[in-house]
C-alpha cells in the first residue's frame, strides 16, 4: 500500500473526509447523518492517513490520545443532558438557542452537543482500536 501516489494523496483525502464527517455530523439533526456515522467517517480518514504515513504521524496529528478524545466526548454528552434541570423538565429535554452570526440565524441545541459527544466517543474509541491494529501490523 506504500506507493507514492497513495502517500501523496492520503493527507488531502483525509482532510476532505474529516470535513465531510463534520458535515454529516451537523446535518444529522433533521436528515440522515449524525454523530455515529460522522465519527466512523472521521475514523476512516485517520485509518487511511495511518496506513499511508504511519501510526506515529496520526498520533501527532490528533494531539490527544484517542481514549482521551473518547472520554471528552462522554463528558460532553453527559453534560448536554443536564441543562433541563434548571427548567424543571426531565433529563435530556432539548433546549434551543438561536444566535445570529452576521445576520444568519444559527440554531444551537443540546441534542447537537450530545451528538458531538457521540462523534468524539466514536472517533476516540475506534481510532484507538484502529491505531493499535495498524501498529501491530507495522512491527
Amino acid at each position: 500500500m506504500n506507493t507514492v501516489i497513495f502517500r501523496t494523496i492520503a493527507p488531502y483525502l483525509s482532510a476532505l473526509m474529516i470535513l465531510f464527517s463534520i458535515f454529516v455530523l451537523l446535518r444529522g439533526h433533521n436528515e440522515p447523518g449524525g454523530g455515529f456515522i460522522g465519527g466512523l467517517i472521521a475514523v476512516s480518514a485517520f485509518a487511511i492517513y495511518g496506513i499511508a504515513c504511519g501510526v506515529a504521524a496520526v498520533r501527532r496529528a490528533i494531539t490527544f490520545h484517542p481514549l482521551s478524545i473518547a472520554a471528552a466526548g462522554l463528558v460532553l454528552s453527559a453534560l448536554s443532558v443536564m441543562p433541563s434541570i434548571f427548567l424543571a423538565q426531565p433529563a435530556m429535554t432539548s433546549q434551543w438557542l438561536q444566535i445570529h452570526v452576521f445576520g444568519t440565524p444559527v440554531d444551537l441545541s443540546t441534542p447537537m452537543f450530545f451528538d458531538i459527544g457521540v462523534y468524539l466517543v466514536v472517533v476516540g474509541a475506534i481510532t484507538s482500536i484502529a491505531l493499535a491494529l495498524e501498529e501491530r501490523e507495522q512491527k
Partner: protein, 527 residues
C-alpha cells in the same frame, strides 16, 4: 378492535407537571458515574489521583442513592421519561423500592471495592483503567436497576458487560485470559438471547416500556406466544444470574481475576440477572411466571444444591466462594418460584444481603491471602493466632452467608421458607433448609481449616511451627480494614435490626406482586 383498546386514559400521561429536582436523583447516579469514569480515563496517567476520583464519585453515588431511596419510600414509585417524550414512547427511568435498594447496595459494595483497590491494585493496572472500568461497570448496574424500559435494560447490560471484560483481564496472565474467554463467550450468548427475545416481544406488543408491555400482554389474542417469550427470558436471565444448568461460566472465571475484581463481580453481576428475572417475570409477564413456576422451583433447588455441593468439594477459597454465590442465586429463585408477596420480599431481601455478603467474603479472601500467603485450604491454617479480629469477622460473614441467626442472611431465609410452605411448595422449603445445613458444613470446614487448626496440612496442632507464627502479629492495611468493617457492620446491623430493610423489601414486593401500581406510576393514572 374495541377489545384491544387500552383500558386507561392516555390523556393523563400527556399532562406535563414540572419535574421536581428530587426526580433527577433517578439519573444522577448514572450521570455522575459517566462523568467520573470519563474524567478518570482522561487522567489515567496520573495514577496517584485515580483512587480519589473513584472513591469520590462512587461516594457521591452512594449519597444520591440514599436520597433516592428516601424519596421513593416517601412518595412511592418515581418515574421520569427522557427528553420529555411521553410514555410509552420515551425511555422511562422508573425506580421502585426494589430497584433502589439494589442500586444502593451495589454502590456501597462498589465504594468498598474502590477503597480496597487503592491498596491492592498496582500502578500499571491503574493506568490500564481499573477505576474507569469500575465506575462504568457500576454505571451499567445502576442503570439496569433503575430503568423502566426493556431495551434500555439491554443497553445497560452491554455497558456493564463491556466494563467487566476490561476488569477481568487486568493483569494479563494466561489463566486470566482463559477465564475471561469463557466468561465473555457465555455472557455474550446470554445477552444475544436477551436481545433476540426482546425483538420477539417487541414484534408482538409493539412497545418496549415495561409498564406498557405489562398492560398490553393481557389484551393479546389467545394464541400469542407469551409463554415462549417468558421461557426464553428465563433462559437468558438465568444464564446471567448463573442458575443451574447454565452456570458453568461462573466457577470457570471468578477465581482468575484480581480478588477485588472477583469481589465486585460476585456482588453485582449475577444480581443484575436476578433483578431482571424478578422484574420481567413478575411485573411484565406474571402469567409466564405462573406457568413456569414448577420449572423455576426445580431450577432453584438444583442451583442451591449443586452450588453448595460444589463449594463443599473445593479447596481453593475463591472457587469455593464462587459456588456459594451460585447457591445464593438458587435461594433467590426459590422466592420467584413461589411468587407470593412474602416469598418475593424474601427474594429481594436475600439478593440485597447477598450483594453485601459475597463482596465482603471475597475481600476477606484477599485479606486471608495477605495474611496466610495462599488461597488454598490445604496450605492455610492457624490464622486465628495471627489475627483474632479477622477470625471473628470471617465467622460473622460465614454465618450470614449460611443464613444462621443473628445476621442478615437469616431473615430472608425465614421469609422464603414461610412463603414456600404457605404457597404449597414444601419441597422448595426443604431445598432451602437442606442447603442451609450443607452451607453450614461448608463454612465450618472453611473456618476450621483456615483459622482453628494449628497450621497447614501436615502440621500437628500445637507444634513449634505454629507457636512461631503467633509471634508476629498481623497488621491489617487500612484500605482493607475500612471496606470490611463497613460491610460486616451493615451485615450485623441488618441482622439485629431487620425492620428497616424489611419495610423496604415489602414495599418492593408489593409492587412486583401487583404491577398495577408500577403501571400507574409510569402513566400517572390507574390502568
Amino acid at each position: 378492535m374495541a377489545a384491544n383498546k387500552p383500558a386507561f386514559d392516555w390523556a393523563a400521561a400527556w399532562v406535563m407537571d414540572p419535574t421536581p429536582l428530587a426526580d433527577w436523583l433517578l439519573v444522577a447516579p448514572t450521570l455522575l458515574l459517566m462523568l467520573g469514569g470519563a474524567t478518570a480515563i482522561m487522567l489515567r496517567k496520573k495514577t496517584d489521583i485515580q483512587p480519589w476520583i473513584g472513591i469520590g464519585t462512587i461516594g457521591l453515588v452512594v449519597l444520591s442513592n440514599i436520597l433516592l431511596l428516601a424519596h421513593v419510600l416517601n412518595n412511592g414509585i418515581v418515574s421520569m421519561v427522557m427528553g420529555s417524550w411521553l410514555p410509552p414512547f420515551g425511555i422511562a427511568f422508573t425506580a421502585d423500592a426494589m430497584g433502589v435498594l439494589f442500586a444502593l447496595a451495589a454502590s456501597i459494595v462498589a465504594l468498598c471495592a474502590a477503597i480496597y483497590a487503592a491498596g491492592s491494585i498496582e500502578q500499571s493496572e491503574r493506568r490500564y483503567g481499573f477505576y474507569p472500568f469500575l465506575m462504568l461497570l457500576l454505571c451499567g448496574v445502576t442503570g439496569a436497576f433503575l430503568t423502566g424500559d426493556i431495551f434500555n435494560l439491554y443497553v445497560w447490560f452491554e455497558v456493564l458487560l463491556i466494563s467487566s471484560f476490561g476488569m477481568i483481564v487486568l493483569g494479563n496472565e494466561k489463566r486470566q485470559l482463559d477465564g475471561a474467554m469463557k466468561y465473555a463467550v457465555l455472557n455474550l450468548l446470554a445477552t444475544t438471547l436477551f436481545l433476540v427475545t426482546t425483538g420477539l416481544l417487541y414484534g408482538m406488543v409493539g412497545t418496549l416500556n415495561m409498564a406498557d408491555i405489562a398492560m398490553r400482554i393481557p389484551q393479546l389474542p389467545e394464541n400469542a406466544p407469551v409463554m415462549g417469550i417468558a421461557a426464553l427470558y428465563f433462559l437468558a436471565f438465568g444464564m446471567k444470574a448463573a442458575a443451574f444448568p447454565v452456570n458453568f461460566w461462573l466457577p470457570a472465571s471468578y477465581h482468575t481475576p484480581r480478588i477485588v475484581v472477583s469481589a465486585v463481580f460476585a456482588g453485582l453481576l449475577t444480581k443484575v440477572g436476578v433483578y431482571a428475572l424478578l422484574r420481567v417475570m413478575l411485573v411484565v409477564m406474571p402469567e409466564g411466571r405462573e406457568w413456569l413456576s414448577t420449572l423455576i422451583g426445580l431450577v432453584a433447588v438444583a442451583t442451591m444444591l449443586t452450588g453448595v455441593l460444589g463449594a463443599l468439594a473445593q479447596t481453593d477459597i475463591r472457587r469455593m466462594l464462587g459456588y456459594i454465590v451460585i447457591s445464593g442465586i438458587g435461594t433467590v429463585l426459590a422466592g420467584l418460584a413461589v411468587g407470593s408477596e412474602v416469598s418475593v420480599a424474601g427474594s429481594i431481601f436475600y439478593a440485597a444481603h447477598s450483594i453485601l455478603c459475597m463482596t465482603a467474603l471475597y475481600l476477606l479472601a484477599g485479606l486471608i491471602n495477605l495474611l496466610g500467603g495462599s488461597y488454598s485450604l490445604r496450605e492455610l491454617g492457624g490464622l486465628y493466632l495471627r489475627s483474632p479480629l479477622v477470625a471473628a469477622c470471617t465467622l460473622v460473614l460465614l454465618f450470614a452467608v449460611a443464613g444462621l441467626p443473628p445476621f442478615s442472611g437469616f431473615w430472608p431465609k425465614v421469609m422464603l421458607v414461610e412463603g414456600a410452605l404457605a404457597g404449597g411448595m414444601g419441597w422448595v422449603a426443604a431445598g432451602i433448609l437442606v442447603t442451609g445445613v450443607l452451607t453450614a458444613i461448608t463454612i465450618g470446614r472453611f473456618w476450621i481449616f483456615i483459622f482453628w487448626r494449628g497450621g497447614p496440612e501436615g502440621v500437628t496442632d500445637g507444634t513449634q511451627v505454629v507457636v512461631q507464627a503467633t509471634e508476629e502479629k498481623a497488621v491489617i492495611p487500612v484500605t482493607v480494614l475500612i471496606p470490611l468493617s463497613i460491610l460486616t457492620g451493615l451485615i450485623i446491623l441488618i441482622g439485629i435490626q431487620p425492620e428497616g430493610v424489611m419495610a423496604i423489601v415489602q414495599k418492593g414486593a408489593a409492587v412486583l406482586v401487583d404491577p398495577a401500581t408500577y403501571v400507574q406510576a409510569v402513566f400517572g393514572v390507574k390502568p
